[in-house]
Assembly symmetry: C2
Homo-oligomer: 73 residues x 2
């Protein structure tokens, strides 16, 4: 079963956030995003716009293109 783009991106975002030792709530706060919305991103239930994706990447201290490459599957 191939994973969808949002699921792949959600997984790499989660991995990166956990590596920073941040909870979902702390990270959502860091980037000024509602916690529930951020949780849905990690679960692959939301497809981000590019500007949101850049915001998340910045909060994860990684370039957006690198994060997208990690999630390229």
């Amino acid at each position: 079963m191939t994973t969808s783009l949002p699921e792949r991106i959600g997984a790499v975002v989660r991995k990166r956030r956990e590596a920073l030792g941040l909870s979902q709530e702390a990270f959502a706060d860091r980037i000024g995003m509602h916690r529930n919305y951020y949780g849905a991103i990690e679960r692959g239930e939301k497809t981000m716009r590019l500007d949101t994706f850049e915001r998340v990447a910045m909060g994860l201290e990684i370039e957006a293109w690198r994060l997208l490459k990690d999630g390229a599957g």
Copy 2:
């Protein structure tokens, strides 16, 4: 004046499309997108979702992360 994300992305998408020798109309057809919507993307008037961005990258025969890197400015 710093360019916005959609403007940076629109510029690299246009450059890549022109390098393939395709008109906006032919390229929009290739990826099954309405021509006006695609034109707005190139003009930086639309911020794509990641799935749309992947579709455009595929049509441009380039990995999405590479296209995002080109547009990182």
